[in-house]
Structures are given as structure tokens and as C-alpha cells.
């Protein structure tokens, strides 16, 4: 498993453990107690590292190649999961997936950005960067869900919508904008979960929900730290400073009032334990979906509207308005 730059102190210990394991196998020596001792130390180091993460460390965890992807989570969380394809207009975009299934006793339409875990998969999934047809597939499936009164769960994990000529020709901006407006009007509850990278408009394009949850080491940002660094700080190497300034971690997004809850990840990040991560997301979504069981469609629409309506602090007649609690 890929080790992240900030895990260097841990990395040395893990290497040592592996060396000892090989040694004990090839030489037939019993090193169990030595290995256990180092493993204990590794755990302590890991706990320490993960208790003192900087925002750019969190970005690395959010982008870890082994982080659980939308399809795997759908398979782990849903029974009767059936993936559905295509926008019925142009193509099927593999970087957004969707389908029907049961989450506990709830029928759901699950939509998510889909990344790959290796180069081949990532090329097929376009690194989780959708074209307009991806957003239009998502819209078609959400409209289907709305028609059959099926709640919508969206899993957000994208560096951003794809910036390219073909995407522009087919109306990337319009495809995202339409989703924002249409999601606002659905009569069914929408639960969105940022499972990895929440990359700007490309993330929001399936993120206008009643509730927004974030995995502990997920991030959500208006621009990538690297992009912000090169534009505002005039130095792409200042991504760590930009990551901090933009306030993109789950706890920041929560204290800004943009997300409603943080879902804890296993020690060392979600990529160490997909099943546990899936269970966490599943039980959080079920709790949310239970809330809406007796809600009218008007109340569901109104709640979504009110959430976004109050986001955005400003000063009016010398009085601050919409200020988040932490400021």
C-alpha cells in the first residue's frame, strides 16, 4: 500500500517489521515478540501522526489510491445493487456512476464520482473527472428517483469536472448549473457524503443535498490547493499554505456550517478498512433517511433551500450576517 510523505517516521518501522517477518520465515527464527514490540511502536507513531495532521496531509489521505471508491462502497452498503448507465443523449461517462439498491430497508438511488485504484483504471475513469454527460447521467437518474419517490444518496470524490475542449463544447458549465437547480427541486431527500476529494463545481454538481456529511479525512474546496497556490500565491509549491488558508478539512467545513456531520475513519485512513468505512457511511445515511420518513415533499424542499440560503457571511448596515459559529 502506498505510504504518504508525512508517514515517513512510520514507514521506517513498517519496513523493519517486513524485514523481520521475511527473516523469521527464511531463517526459521521465532521473532514474534520483537515484531509485536515494533508493531506496538508503529501503532503509537501512527496514532501520533494522525493526531497532528496538517491540511495538506489530509489532502494526501483523501487522494490515496486505495481509498474506497463509489462502486465498492455501493456494493458493500447496498443489497440488490444494480448499476445503471448512460445520459440518453451522448454517452456513458465512467467517471460518474449510479444505480438502484436497498440500504437497510430504504430504497436508494446512489450516485457517485468514480476514481480508479491504478493507472489503467484511472485512465478509464478519467481520474474521476466527469464530462457533461456524467452530470447529465446523474441528473437523469436523480429524476428517475424523484419520479418513483426514491431517496438519493450521492458520494462525492473528484478532483473537479474535466477541463477540456470536448467538455466545453458539450456545455460543462450548463450541465453542472442545471444539476444545482434541479437538485434543489426534488421531492425526495438527498444525502451527500464527501468520501474523498470534494473538488469545486465538479463536486457540487452532485452535492446540492438536504444533508452533507464528510468522512474524517475528506476535503471540500472551491479550488485545489495546488491551483490556488499557483494563482493566488504565484507559486505552485505553496500548496500546503493554500490548503491551510482555504479551510478545506472536514472539521473546517463543519464549523463553517457547510456540512452537517463528520464520519470517523479507521486509524490510518479509510483505505485501511473499506468494510468499516462502508458500515460507518451506511449507518449514518440510514439515520438521516429515517429522519425524513414522515416528511412532506414541501418540507424536504424547504429544508434544502434553507440550508443553502443562509450560507455566506457578509456585512449589512455595519452588522455581520450569516456568520459561522467559529468566527
Amino acid at each position: 500500500m502506498k505510504r504518504l510523505p508525512f508517514e515517513k517516521p512510520l514507514s521506517e518501522l513498517l519496513d523493519k517489521i517486513e524485514q523481520l517477518k521475511t527473516l523469521s520465515q527464511t531463517e526459521g527464527i521465532d521473532l514474534t515478540s520483537e515484531i509485536a514490540k515494533i508493531e506496538e511502536r508503529a501503532d503509537a507513531v501512527r496514532r501520533d501522526l494522525y493526531a497532528n495532521l496538517t491540511p495538506i496531509d489530509v489532502v494526501q489521505i483523501a487522494r490515496h489510491p486505495n481509498r474506497p471508491d463509489a462502486i465498492s462502497l455501493a456494493t458493500l452498503m447496498l443489497t440488490d445493487w444494480t448499476e445503471l448507465h448512460g445520459d440518453r443523449q451522448f454517452a456513458d461517462d465512467p467517471s460518474i456512476i449510479g444505480g438502484l439498491g436497498l440500504m437497510g430497508s430504504h430504497r436508494v438511488m446512489l450516485i457517485g464520482h468514480q476514481k480508479g485504484h491504478d493507472t489503467k483504471e484511472n485512465i478509464y475513469r478519467n481520474f474521476g473527472m466527469p464530462h457533461p454527460e456524467g452530470y447529465r447521467k446523474a441528473l437523469r437518474l436523480m429524476q428517475l428517483a424523484d419520479r418513483f419517490n426514491i431517496p438519493i444518496v450521492t458520494l462525492i470524490d473528484t478532483p473537479g469536472a474535466y477541463p477540456g475542449l470536448a467538455a466545453e463544447e458539450r456545455g460543462q458549465a450548463e450541465a453542472i448549473a442545471r444539476n444545482l437547480k434541479e437538485m434543489a427541486g426534488f421531492r425526495v431527500p438527498i444525502i451527500s457524503v464527501v468520501i474523498g476529494e470534494g473538488g469545486s463545481g465538479g463536486a457540487l454538481g452532485i452535492g446540492v443535498g438536504n444533508r452533507l456529511l464528510m468522512l474524517q479525512y475528506a476535503v471540500y474546496s472551491v479550488i485545489s490547493p495546488e491551483g490556488c497556490a499557483s494563482i493566488l500565491f504565484r507559486d505552485a509549491k505553496k500548496a500546503d499554505i493554500a490548503a491551510k488558508a482555504l479551510r478545506i478539512t472536514a472539521s473546517d467545513i463543519y464549523s463553517l456550517g457547510v456540512c452537517h456531520g463528520i464520519l470517523p475513519e479507521p486509524l490510518g485512513g479509510a483505505h485501511h478498512h473499506w468494510q468499516e468505512t462502508a458500515s460507518t457511511i451506511q449507518s449514518a445515511c440510514i439515520t438521516e433517511l429515517n429522519r425524513y420518513q414522515s416528511w412532506s415533499s414541501d418540507a424536504i424542499i424547504e429544508e434544502r433551500f434553507q440550508h443553502f440560503r443562509k450560507l455566506g457571511p457578509f456585512i449589512e448596515n455595519n452588522e455581520p450576517a450569516n456568520m459561522p459559529t467559529f468566527c
Binding site: 469536472a161 477541463p163 477540456g164 475542449l165 467538455a167 466545453e168 463544447e169 458539450r170 456545455g171 460543462q172 458549465a173 450548463e174 453542472i176 448549473a177 442545471r178 444545482l180 437547480k181 434541479e182 434543489a184 427541486g185 469545486s200 463545481g201 457540487l204 454538481g205 452535492g207 446540492v208 474546496s221 472551491v222 479550488i223 490556488c228 499557483s230 494563482i231 493566488l232 500565491f233 504565484r234 493554500a242 488558508a245 482555504l246 479551510r247 478545506i248 473546517d252 467545513i253 463553517l256 457547510v258 434544502r304 433551500f305 443553502f308 440560503r309 450560507l311 455566506g312 457571511p313 457578509f314 456585512i315 449589512e316 448596515n317 455581520p320 450569516n322 456568520m323 459561522p324 468566527c327
Partner: protein, 293 residues
């Protein structure tokens, strides 16, 4: 280099260079055709180059003057001002950028809103100002545009938004992104009460603005030559190393790809808007049953 090449090169440099050492604000060079224009002539021609019809950028108040009937515009929400709630600082603190932009501007942020009439039709109007921090959308722009849409819902007046923006205001972090959702959610409410919304895209309309209210018009109009895109040409070149063909993402490209209803010359905008609204706002049952607007 032959003499022919030399002339060709000289002409090319002349046509593309916008800087010329001529004093102050008297003369201006058209960045499109290279014509030297008398500033006053340009202003009396709606800031459109009389030779090649290049549309120069307008400030919000210049735009309102061209769009609204004389003295009909009544500004609202003018006291709303941005706040640096993240204490954001890049090469310069956000607070300092706000002060600098406000001192150079007649407004407190990148949008002016209010009510007006266009050829006698009452409308709710929001006009963005590229001159204020690149027309970037933060909480103030989002709030004022949302209120404009809400006044459309309350008064049943059609809503007109003129976009001119580089996108979201990064200094406000995730909150700038949320303004895309906020304005689009408001447009859902406007659509429900069947009040028309006309979006006018001027140069440039990119990023978070194009991916929210600007492309959501019941009617989308765009000024000739305006750059309208999700990702601007530089972003595309830097991220995926793709060089865009000439004219890509310009108004005519958008029309060709079906993204806008019409490319409309600046001087034709009031008439076009009025014609559309007159037809859109005739109640069902036919023209004969209605009183003139």
C-alpha cells in the same frame, strides 16, 4: 526575414499589442482590430469599436445606463459589504484587497442590484462588475443575486442578470462555492412561480458563475466575442496541455454548440429583452385578452 515577412510581423504586433504610448485617457486602441479610437467616440458608441464591433468591457453602472430606461434604475442592497471571515491572506490580505477595490469603485462588491424598467417593462436587475476583483463571486455577490431573484418571485417582475466574472472568489474558500448552489436554488423557486429569467453573458463569464446562474436563463443571451467557459483557456492549457482552437469559448462558439439562444449586439439588448418579455409575459389565452404592459 524578407521585407514582406517584416511587414506582416509589424502589422501583427500592431494588431495584438494593446499598449501604446499615447497620453492618458484620450485615445484608446482597439485590442481586436488595432484601430486608434477617440475615447469619447467610443463612449458615445456604447463602448463598441465602430470599425470592428469589438465590445469593450463595461462597468456595472455603464451597463445599467445602456440597459435600463433613463432614471428608472433604483439601487437596493447597496450597503452589503464583504467580510474576511477566514482571515485569508495570499500575496496580500483579503481585507486589503477589499479596501483597495472599494476605494477604486462606486460599489462595495462585484455586483449592483435593483429595480428598473426596460422599454417600459418593470424588471429586477443584477449587473456584475468585472472591475471589482475580476467580478469574482463571494458571499456578497451570491446574496445580492439571490435577493434579486427573490424580488422577482415576490413582485413577479422578470429577472435580468448580466454576468461578467472570472468565477468564484477563492479568498472566501468553500463559501464562494456555496454561492453557486445558493443562487441556483433561488432560480428553482423562480421557475416554480413561472417568472422569466433572462441571463446575459458578457466578457468574460467563466468558472463558478458560468456553472451556476449565468447559464440557467430561460433565455440565455451573449454579447458578441464574449468569452464564456467552465474552465478558461489558460486553465485548460495548464492542466491538460490542450491548446484551444481560435474562437473556442467565444460567443459564436457557444451559439454553434447550442449553449445560448442568441448572440446579441450590445445596442440591441434592450429591444431584444423587451420583445422577448412582452411575448413571454402574455398570460395564456392569447394576446387579445391582455392589457398592454
Amino acid at each position: 526575414m524578407s521585407i514582406v515577412d517584416w511587414f506582416a510581423k509589424k502589422e501583427k504586433t500592431n494588431a495584438t499589442s494593446t499598449k501604446l504610448n499615447i497620453p492618458g485617457d484620450v485615445w484608446i486602441k482597439c485590442p481586436s482590430c488595432g484601430e486608434i479610437l477617440f475615447q469619447k467616440d467610443l463612449e458615445s458608441n456604447a463602448k463598441v469599436c465602430p470599425k470592428c464591433q469589438h465590445h469593450f468591457r463595461l462597468s456595472a453602472f455603464e451597463r445599467i445606463e445602456l440597459l435600463a430606461d433613463p432614471t428608472s434604475f433604483v439601487e437596493v442592497d447597496s450597503s452589503i459589504s464583504p467580510i474576511d471571515f477566514l482571515t485569508f491572506s495570499d500575496t496580500e490580505p483579503y481585507q486589503a484587497r477589499i479596501h483597495k477595490s472599494q476605494s477604486k469603485s462606486l460599489s462595495k462588491d462585484a455586483v449592483i442590484t435593483g429595480s428598473a424598467t426596460i422599454q417600459g417593462i418593470p424588471v429586477q436587475l443584477a449587473v456584475m462588475d468585472f472591475g471589482f476583483m475580476g467580478g469574482s463571486m463571494g458571499a456578497v455577490v451570491g446574496e445580492k443575486i439571490t435577493r434579486t431573484i427573490e424580488r422577482g418571485v415576490a413582485t413577479q417582475n422578470p429577472v435580468i442578470v448580466v454576468a461578467s466574472s472570472g468565477g468564484a472568489r477563492m479568498q472566501e474558500g468553500i463559501m464562494s462555492l456555496m454561492q453557486m448552489a445558493k443562487t441556483s436554488v433561488a432560480l428553482q423557486q423562480l421557475a416554480r412561480v413561472k417568472v422569466p429569467y433572462i441571463s446575459i453573458m458578457s466578457d468574460p463569464t467563466t468558472g463558478g458563475t458560468s456553472a451556476s446562474f449565468a447559464t440557467l436563463g430561460d433565455i440565455n443571451l451573449v454579447e458578441p466575442g464574449a468569452l464564456v467557459s467552465f474552465a478558461g483557456p489558460r486553465v485548460i492549457e495548464q492542466t491538460i496541455r490542450q491548446k484551444l482552437p481560435k474562437g473556442a469559448q467565444r460567443a459564436e462558439f457557444l451559439l454553434h454548440h447550442g449553449m445560448v439562444d442568441r448572440v446579441v449586439h450590445r445596442k440591441e439588448l434592450p429591444t431584444t429583452i423587451a420583445k422577448l418579455l412582452r411575448v413571454l409575459m402574455i398570460p395564456t389565452g392569447g394576446a387579445h385578452e391582455t392589457t398592454p404592459l
